[in-house]
Amino acid sequence: MNWKLPFDIPLVTPTLGIPIEFYDALGIIVFLVHISFIYVLIGSLTAAVIYNIMGAVTKNEKYDKLAYAMTNPTTVSENMGALWGVAPLLVISVLYTGFFYTAILKVSPHILHIIYGNIFGFLLSYAYKFSWHKLENSKGFHIAIGLVALVTFYSLPPVFMSMSNLYLQPETFAYINNIWEIMLTPLTGFRLINFFLTALSFTGIFMIWYGMRMQNNGEKEVGELAVNQGKKWFMFSAPVNVAIMPLLLFMFTPRIAEGLLNSVFIYLPFVASLLLTILFFYLMMRWNKNKFSSKEVLTVSALMIASVLLMATARHGIRVVSFEEPLKLQAEATKSYMEASIAEYKKYKEEMKNAPAQDMSNPETLAQAKGCMGCHAVDAKLVGPAFKDVAGKYASAEQITPSILNGSKGKWGEVPMPIQGVTPEEADILAKWVLSLK
């Protein structure tokens, strides 16, 4: 296989002697929290806009109330989602530094959309929420703000997932050179379908919990609507997902898919699908019920989160299987590079130590050491004039030293001479030497 891998960072990985399994678990848990918030962000903003439109069309106030209620989870989850996105990246970038940065560089500058696109989305979602009552009489405009925010947030996962698919498959570094080459692959496409469907399912379950909370706080009508709608969100989005999820792992490169087939991770998406199926029937049996007991809420939430956790673990499995070989290759290459480099550096230091001290009263040595010869030669014009020409123009050293000490411009063409880091004594030695070259 044609591997193209960067060297590892030649500093010890600060694991503090804690076994790597700890970091695996840490990575999975922080990712689970992050992705849960992102699911709720995508779903609740979608819900807010949909019910906002339904409220405006049907003139039924309870849709509008539900829509406004959904802007609270949007605000919380956009903040928490961004925040918890940092932790998984921190863990990944300390353990798999080279792969992560290579992927980021390959999808640049488009990857910066996750920063600037996010800022745009945040600001629009705040504008949408905080102008809700002020713009009551211009609903069309208000809904348009929400829609643009929604489109902005929907445009982020394709970018991020492209980066993620690239770094998870280090063999692709050799032939994928920009974001489109990885975004327009079946893998990214199917993972995106899976992502958005899970976001809708997850938000459905969230709405059941949120609706029950509203009912318990006395907002019976809106709460019942939320539970009713939440069930539908889940039941419309889950079936396709159930079919897609078990296939996802087979869509990685043959090397990774084969490795996964020989590991326990390949079963996890099947189990995750099964949990969603159970949840589907559980909700179907409660099709006409808009009031859930806290035990029922707990059951549906647990099934949903367990399914996401299993998918997150499967995702970790991809890293385990995929990175084993390239990490080994990378470690070997880094070791031989660093050994050659350090040996050469030691040799260089030894040479420096044994080299005779330079005689700085010798003007030629001084001119070399101070970098004069970077721009001047004795008898040819380079960047600056030839020293011979300088000697021809001036009569005394006092005319030259100010140009060396303070820089000068306009005397020999348009390129200025910058200030030189020399003492007045050194400038004097240099000026006298230049004059002597006449």
Binding site: P6, V12, L83, S93, T102, S341, G371, L382, P418, G421
Partner: protein, 464 residues
């Protein structure tokens, strides 16, 4: 740098790409989050203690502005710093993460508290505003938010200070001759400029935040046309100006302390850092700018303190503008004086470790450039691809600071130079006039190729 894929930002260049994000982040994080949290918590305490409900409600309105800006622009450009650093210098940020992983992790935990406390403080403010007990509770959230906010600055300042002065008490933070490098984490953390830079940043951030709050008080009171806001305006502005009257002189003294600890080589870079190369000898202009910024802050603060009711909008916005100029300059100078290094004495600005130089001088800079195609890496027998090879070298060694034909573009910088002149210049980097440039790394053949490429930039008929 040579071992990562090349990403070249056209026209504005890598540096400007990062600088845009960095400057926005500094403005918002210092003014809105760290300073803002402290100033607004103080304002809320003060208003509540005097039972001044108009001032207390005004605090909420300013908080809303700060909330919107810090959680969106502030937080995301913070993450953006990291992503931009990945693009700019993966070796440097990769090294920093190996050294500071746990500190960053702790910062992330503190950052959680910061965001959650801000969300709670802001979203429950109105619920708690009606009773004295409620307000006391609300203020507790505000104070905790301020503490968490400041702690995030404590940690990130340590990392910034490390890049300038990585060694503590003369002890190296790592032995570069050992692989893999064992990092002395305490030395890296307790580096000499951490304390002074933190003290200076904290106090000037508080002053900046107070200035921002004054401007927003002015805007909110004027545009809300609410008599309660108009009533609170002079008192709030006077209180905030009082904070500035204390913090501005204190931060000036602390800034002087910080300056005194910076290494001499870095200090010598300050004039160039402030004025760019073209004006580096114009000390008078430099002093004028510094004095201008200082005087603007002082005069507007005095106006705000003694005539808060009549303070014109021009004064309020000039105050903020002066701080923006100040932070812009401060950040530029801090980033610039570290040159030619990105991690002092360890890694050059272009991501090449100082200890790698002798080896790369022997084997050539392109030997380990895995992501560069062979035909742009190895010279043909007839040297027909010398410009392409030179371009690859440019991408590795120069692109971090230079573009070909945009900001700091080499086309303009080498205009009128012969190929021999360029070649001689490469031979003598950094040279006397440009101490901020790293040395050229690579063989003589590499220098020939780069000189050929740079010369081609100004040749007619060569499409670049």
């Amino acid at each position: 740098m040579f071992d990562f894929p090349i990403f070249e930002m056209p026209v504005i260049g890598q540096r400007m790409l990062m600088a845009i994000n960095a400057i926005i982040h500094v403005f918002v994080s210092h003014g809105g989050a760290v300073g803002g949290s402290i100033v607004l918590a103080a304002l809320a305490i003060w208003a509540n203690k005097r039972n001044d409900m108009n001032a207390y409600n005004m605090t909420y309105k300013i908080l809303m502005v700060f909330f919107i800006i810090t959680t969106s622009i502030g937080a995301l450009t913070g993450i953006g710093m990291w992503i931009h650093a990945n693009i700019l210098s993966p070796n440097a940020i990769g090294g920093l993460i190996r050294v500071f992983f746990w500190k960053w992790f702790i910062e992330w935990i503190v950052f959680n508290f910061e965001v959650i406390l801000l969300l709670v403080w802001f979203m429950t403010w109105k619920k708690h505003a009606d009773s004295p007990q409620g307000r006391a509770r609300s203020i507790k959230f505000g104070v905790s938010y301020a503490v968490a906010s400041w702690l995030t600055m404590v940690i990130i300042t340590a990392i910034l200070a490390f890049m300038l002065t990585p060694n503590f008490a003369g002890q190296p933070w790592v032995d570069p001759e050992v692989f893999p490098g064992k990092v002395d984490y305490n030395n890296a953390l307790f580096n000499p400029t951490w304390g002074p830079s933190l003290a200076f940043r904290t106090t000037s951030a508080i002053a900046f935040a107070a200035a921002l709050a004054i401007m927003w008080t002015w805007i909110i009171a004027t545009f809300s046309k609410n008599p309660d806001d108009m009533d609170a305006k002079p008192r709030v502005i006077k209180f905030l100006a009082g904070i500035m009257l204390i913090m501005v002189p204190v931060s000036a003294v602390l800034g002087y302390w910080y300056l005194s600890i910076i290494p001499d080589a870095a200090k010598a870079m300050i004039p160039t850092a402030m004025m760019t190369r073209a004006f580096e000898d114009k000390f008078d202009v430099m002093y004028m700018i510094t004095i201008g910024i200082g005087a603007t802050v002082l005069i507007t603060t005095i106006i705000a303190y003694f005539a808060p009711k009549r303070m014109p909008y021009v004064a309020a916005s000039m105050m903020v503008l002066a701080f923006l100029a100040f932070w812009g300059y401060e950040e530029r100078v801090r980033e610039f004086i570290r040159k030619p290094y990105i991690i002092y004495n360890y890694m050059y600005s272009n991501g090449i470790r100082a200890t790698d130089v002798p080896y790369l001088n022997k084997v050539g800079i392109l030997k380990h450039a895995v992501f560069i195609d062979e035909d742009k890496k190895v010279l043909n027998a007839d040297k027909s691809n010398i410009v392409e090879v030179g371009h690859s070298i440019f991408q590795i060694e120069c692109r971090i600071c230079h573009t070909d034909n945009g900001i700091n573009g080499l086309k303009k910088l080498t205009k009128g130079w012969s190929q021999e002149a360029i070649r001689a210049r490469l031979n003598n980097l950094p040279g006397g006039g440009t101490p901020y440039m790293p040395p050229f790394v690579g063989t003589d053949a590499d220098k020939d190729a780069l000189a050929a490429y740079l010369h081609s930039l100004n040749k007619e008929g060569v499409i670049k």
